[in-house]
């Protein structure tokens, strides 16, 4: 399964998915046989607001080319307000990453409900395409982690 030198770039994507909506949405996408690239690695979190900015930076440090956070739609949070806080935090963080020169297409937040298997698959396809077009993450990786 080695990748040849002339094979096209396939980005590594980390997707943080909230347990209640988006992870179920991913499940639905799977059981509905809606395809999305295998390069998306899903990490299940109890709520989108569990995702600490360090999780995102760490993912990039360890070689991720793009990081996406998926949670319940605003107003639908299992814990009522978690995603509202997540929304503000991620807005701040993404703005800062953009500010220090990290391509802003590498980060994204999407609200995906348990019923939106199709949206999940479409979102991932779109995000992977976007990150693919940006190429490898070199600005926010740790040189000691060779890929």
């Amino acid at each position: 399964m080695s990748i040849g030198a002339n094979e096209e770039f396939r980005p590594k994507i980390v997707a943080f998915c909230c347990n209640w909506c988006s992870y179920a949405g991913a499940d639905l996408a799977g059981s509905s046989r809606l395809a999305y690239p295998a390069d998306v690695k899903i990490i299940r979190v109890p709520c989108s607001c569990r995702v600490n900015p360090m999780f995102i930076l760490r993912a990039f440090e360890r070689g991720a080319d793009g990081v996406i956070l998926c949670g319940c739609h605003p107003g639908d949070c299992h814990y009522s307000t978690g995603n509202f806080y997540a929304r503000r935090r991620m807005t701040m963080l993404f703005s800062m990453l953009d500010y220090i020169g990290v391509e802003n297409g590498r980060t994204r937040v999407e609200w995906v409900s348990a019923a939106e298997g199709a949206k999940f698959s479409a979102t991932m396809n779109d995000f992977v395409a976007k990150v693919t077009s940006l190429g490898k993450n070199v600005r926010l990786g740790d040189l000691r982690c060779k890929n």
């Binding site: 360890r62 000691r144 982690c145 060779k146």
Partner: protein, 345 residues
């Protein structure tokens, strides 16, 4: 003695860098620090003191010791290669060179630190006299001569737009020979005048007459138990600025960085000012900042001299004087003890 015009220095640097690595003061983002030379860097030999001392050249803030790979139960260990190429460090001042001597006593004593020893063996020190010493300098207190840095391989003086160059050791002679075609013969008259001028300024520096009386290897009991520390440390924020800009601080930490390709074991500078410096799973023997603050100065002015024939682990570079966020420094410590029991400063 030789000389070279200041405008020709870049040719000199180019020549040296041809077959050796060259480190010299470089300005980056408004701050001058030692860095590797290439055509693109902004060389700054006019700034008297680099922010960090030159100790990085011999004892870098970070270095890999070895790499370990794990395969199942098995480990495979590879020591990092030692420095095997000569390098020149240009522009070191007398205080920084003395700083390296202080480190020598630690790293070259048994068991020898081979990483450090390799760098020392391959390093060629081109020293520079301190053209205009500043008010924070007090190297005279430690018997150093800012006007004549004699502990180097080559000594240089910048006088009236010309760099005077004098080889002091075999290594220095060899380096001189390799750049000879860029140098012209010079007499020492101007250098002697410069030396006299520097020494005259040094005499006038506010800290030049600081007294070290009462310090030294025998002072452990008296100094350690003094109540003076109780007020001295109060402003300390427990950051590591003083230790990281200091040419003689040599405490280090050893840590691992794990990647999927293996484990990198590295060493990095550490600071006795940090609260976790002495923290163990089983407890901590220095729990207050008073203790940590006291440790730093006791080490420099008492413990180190006790173990090294009276040599102090301070060289009077004055970096801590300039950089401490709370304006605390070793001079204030020394003075506070001068005044112990006496009247105000």
């Amino acid at each position: 003695m030789y000389k070279i015009a200041k405008e020709n220095l870049s040719a000199l640097f180019q020549k040296i860098a041809g077959d050796k690595e060259l480190y010299l003061p470089v300005k980056n983002g408004g701050q001058t620090n030692y860095a590797a030379w290439d055509e693109t860097v902004e060389v700054d030999i006019d700034t008297l003191k680099t922010v960090k001392s030159a100790k990085d050249a011999f004892f870098p803030q970070f270095e890999t010791l070895y790499n370990v790979k794990r395969e199942g139960k098995k480990l495979d260990l590879q020591q990092e290669a030692l420095k095997d190429k000569d390098f020149v460090i240009f522009g070191m001042k007398a205080c920084d060179i003395q700083g390296v001597k202080v480190l020598d006593n630690v790293f070259l004593s048994e068991p020898v630190d081979t990483y450090y020893a390799a760098r020392r063996a391959h390093g060629i020190i081109v020293a520079m006299a301190c053209h205009e010493p500043e008010e924070s300098c007090f190297c005279k207190v430690f018997g150093l001569d800012a006007a004549d840095p004699s502990a180097a391989d080559v000594a240089t003086w910048m006088v009236d737009g010309e760099l005077y160059w004098k080889a002091l050791t075999e290594k220095g002679e060899a380096l001189t020979a390799s750049v000879k075609d860029l140098l012209t013969d010079a007499d020492e008259a101007k250098v002697e005048a410069e030396k006299a001028q520097i020494r005259a300024i040094v005499e006038k520096l506010p800290y030049s007459n600081l007294s070290l009386e009462g310090w030294g290897g025998d002072a452990t009991d008296v100094k350690f138990k003094s109540p003076v520390w109780e007020t001295l440390y109060k402003g300390c924020l427990a950051c590591g600025t003083c230790t990281f800009v200091c040419p003689t601080c040599q405490c280090y930490d050893i840590k691992d960085y794990t990647t999927k390709d293996g484990i990198q074991r590295y060493r990095c500078w550490d600071s006795c000012m940090y609260s976790d410096f002495t923290l163990m799973a089983g407890g901590n023997n220095r729990t207050s900042q008073l203790q940590r603050y006291r440790q730093r100065f006791m080490h420099k002015l008492v413990y180190y001299p006790a173990n090294n024939n009276g040599m102090y682990a301070c060289v009077g570079c004055g970096r801590c004087v300039e950089k401490c966020p709370s304006s605390l420094n070793i001079v204030k410590v020394i003075k506070a003890f001068e005044n112990e029991g006496g009247s105000k400063a």
